[in-house]
């Protein structure tokens, strides 16, 4: 059986996981929005730069991004604490995916909607926030939440730079108890508890957005 110390350690690990995930959502969301907007920009150079960013970030495993943020920057003389480096890596990582998902949503809003908004003299920003985003949200919500759930679980890669998250702690325990099933089932349950509210919230949001459709 697991000792109370071990359970406590797992819970602390879960806290790190939650913290990192929150940083990823907020930071990644903000930069992701920037990515989405620049990806559909009228300016070719902006578009291409943004595409390059997405291509490179999506193309490298998060594990390696974590190591680059912690050890790579250190080689260059910038020493970040492990948690800060993990935050940096996961924000960059999440921003590329959020950006791509949202770009897809933006593109599905019919051209005529952009035109109608333009004819009402709405500025670019107003048009984007008032007309395009609400309609893009509907199509983007499921993949966004799907990705957020993956982010929660992928935060475990931060253990490679010394952040003792839930997965890491469970492995640590398993490495000395050699009874994987009870640890892992508990860990799966903890992840479920962390992720399911996201899925539930997504369902609510979709229902609300559905009011004006179909």
């Amino acid at each position: 059986m697991l000792t109370t110390f071990q359970i406590q350690a797992l819970l602390v690990g879960a806290l790190w996981t939650v913290g990192l995930a929150l940083v990823a959502f907020i930071g990644g969301g903000v930069i992701g929005l920037l990515v989405a907007v620049t990806r559909v920009s009228r300016h070719r150079i902006v578009r291409n730069l943004s595409f390059l960013y997405v291509q490179i970030v999506q193309g490298t495993p998060l594990l390696i991004q974590m190591m680059l943020a912690y050890f790579g920057l250190s080689l260059l003389g910038y020493d970040l604490p492990p948690f800060a480096a993990a935050c940096l890596a996961i924000v960059v990582y999440a921003s590329a995916y959020f950006g791509e998902i949202w770009r897809g949503g933006i593109l599905t809003v019919p051209k005529t909607q952009w035109e109608a908004a333009e004819c009402l003299a709405l500025s670019d920003a107003q048009r984007f926030w008032l007309i395009i985003v609400p309609q893009a949200l509907r199509l983007s919500t499921p993949p966004t939440v799907g990705f957020m759930v993956q982010v929660v679980k992928n935060t475990s890669l931060a253990s490679v730079i010394g952040v003792a998250d839930l997965t890491y702690t469970s492995k640590l325990i398993n490495n000395s108890t050699f009874q994987p099933f009870q640890v892992f089932v508990l860990v799966a349950a903890l992840y479920f508890v962390m992720c399911f509210p996201l899925a539930w919230w997504s369902r609510k949001l979709e229902d609300r957005l559905n009011v004006s459709n179909h």
Partner: protein, 227 residues
Amino acid sequence: MAYQFDFSFLSEYWPELLRGLWLTLKMSVLTIVLGFLVGTVLAIGRTAHSAWVRRACGVYVEVIRNTPLLIQMFLIYFGLASLGLKLGANFCAILSIVINISAYTCEIMRAGIESIRKGQLEAAQCLGLSRLQTLAAVVLPPATERVYPALTSQFILIMLTTSVVSQISAEELTSIAARIDSITFRSFEIYLVVALLYILLAVAVRGTFWLIARLVFPRLRRLGTPL
């Protein structure tokens, strides 16, 4: 920079890296294709008339999406073996990734399916198309086209995800790299090389998806406008 980079190990180990790259590629293709198929079927299930089918697919999606792939994989690989059912590591790896990824694909495809206007379904119905035919001809093609960017991202993510199978002994790119690392201790160099290889793979995946889009969405090819 104090650190002296030394890539000389590559001359000895590049065939191994290529072997790992090849397995990663094979597993990616297989899991992407199967994951897309199963995910699409699930998405159809989630929009089915029958509340039971909808609910069953929903529970599957939520349970799978909200628990870690690693643990799902352990349960399949070790759990089944404990019960006496010994399946190969590669098979278990692919099985668990497909199970996992189908849940995500399902949610993306569902969004696409639900974005099809009711008028389209009514038009198909009035032409006498069955539900299945409507799905195949009227719903799925534009739905897929609409969520194509999200799908592409998700599939690149699968390609990267295949690295977890190193945990259960599959010798793909990451695990080969880890072994070379432990022999030579040239961690920075090996991970830089691996990062580059993954970027190349991602470019290849994206390029392939772009080509497939040109192929299966003739409208997109002709007009260049998203649906």
